[in-house]
Symmetry: C2
Subunit: 250 residues, 2 copies
Amino acid sequence: MQRYFISKSQLHQDHILIEGEDVKHISRVMRMAVGDRIICCTEDGQSAICELNELSADSIKAIPKEWLDEQKTLPVNVTIVQGLPKGDKLETVIQKGTELGADQFIPFKAERSVVKWDEQKIAKKLQRLNKIAKEAAEQSHRTTIPRIDMPRSLSSLIKTSESYDHKLIAYEEEAKAGEAAKLVQTLHEAKLNDRVMVVFGPEGGLSEYEVATLKEAGFSSCGLGPRILRTETAAMYVLAAISYHFELMG
Amino acid sequence: MQRYFISKSQLHQDHILIEGEDVKHISRVMRMAVGDRIICCTEDGQSAICELNELSADSIKAIPKEWLDEQKTLPVNVTIVQGLPKGDKLETVIQKGTELGADQFIPFKAERSVVKWDEQKIAKKLQRLNKIAKEAAEQSHRTTIPRIDMPRSLSSLIKTSESYDHKLIAYEEEAKAGEAAKLVQTLHEAKLNDRVMVVFGPEGGLSEYEVATLKEAGFSSCGLGPRILRTETAAMYVLAAISYHFELMG
């Protein structure tokens, strides 16, 4: 069943009012009619099977028929900190990372990031990234859309990291050195709903200064196996490993 | 150090003769000179640090200085069978799957594959995919390049699967049904160098007929967590999980 994310203002006492692009999607793309069913997901992660009750050109009224008890989020809250990469790689990280269960993404203005975000275009870029996250969340049957932060500096990132329970750096040099224990150890120690932050460098990797500064702030660096992964592949590896550890191995 | 894959014919008694595109890469892209060092990887998975000895416009002579003992391949041999997907997704699967340690890729002419490979273009397509695998193997510091098979039909795939120790289907319906045990169980049972085949459907998924036929032939279906993954993400999930299981958890 197709899913749509709705905001608090769309949730009324006995119905949900669907507006904006979702109206076009339901009417024109899915070609649905009165009586057809969709799943609506609220901002606080609840979801309900809803029946379409009234369709007009700019809004659709849907009646919740059954509230669902779905567990689609990872048992730990994972924030992916991604050193700003080139081209459309950040979009890839957000699309695939959303499918794989990330809770939040923080673009990071790393020393070796070639790309600089033009201040005037940040709003537009974030809008596009949020759209990608929303669509990936719908397609992967999630009940929540991951949050996407403003790009942060190293000091701002470290300040934010203070509220996290576990802080990791995916560091290429550790992979080369054969480090294999830290990710496993962290996942063994993590408890339900713990907050985990993992930092990934841009294409050129994190600088030694960044790694040293993050370590001083309580981050541990971890290897991801003996092969060197591209920056966008590393984030997927960590999320898949976390899902395997908690959701399959139990 | 930059790596280059060489064939048997390039390996001489006291030197390695580098030819073709790698010559351009070494001279023009890397701007290397006599005395600079590279890593050469042979077809049988050995690798050596080599010193450049003579550079000409169409060949480079490199002298092996130290043979390395590298373990870059997954402890089990994984074959990714990918239902032919749309667009450039097969390229993504091969690039990321190579980084993540796959041993072999088999494109699969699935019932719901929208894309058909034109017989006349197969050679050219395979050439392009092999180039992607070679470059990804070099970049990820692998010592072997994964093989890429001709696209296969269901019956041909089943015949090939007879030589495998473990046969899995990544099946969306199992994810929806909450299946979580099969992948973990398979990895627990797998021994060093066992051959594992995992089949992924195209965008529309595998058909019920395909799943039933594969199951009859000894395949088991496995879920990959509660979220529904895109076809190209599913292959990465399985490879990352296998790496996490064997290479990090040990």
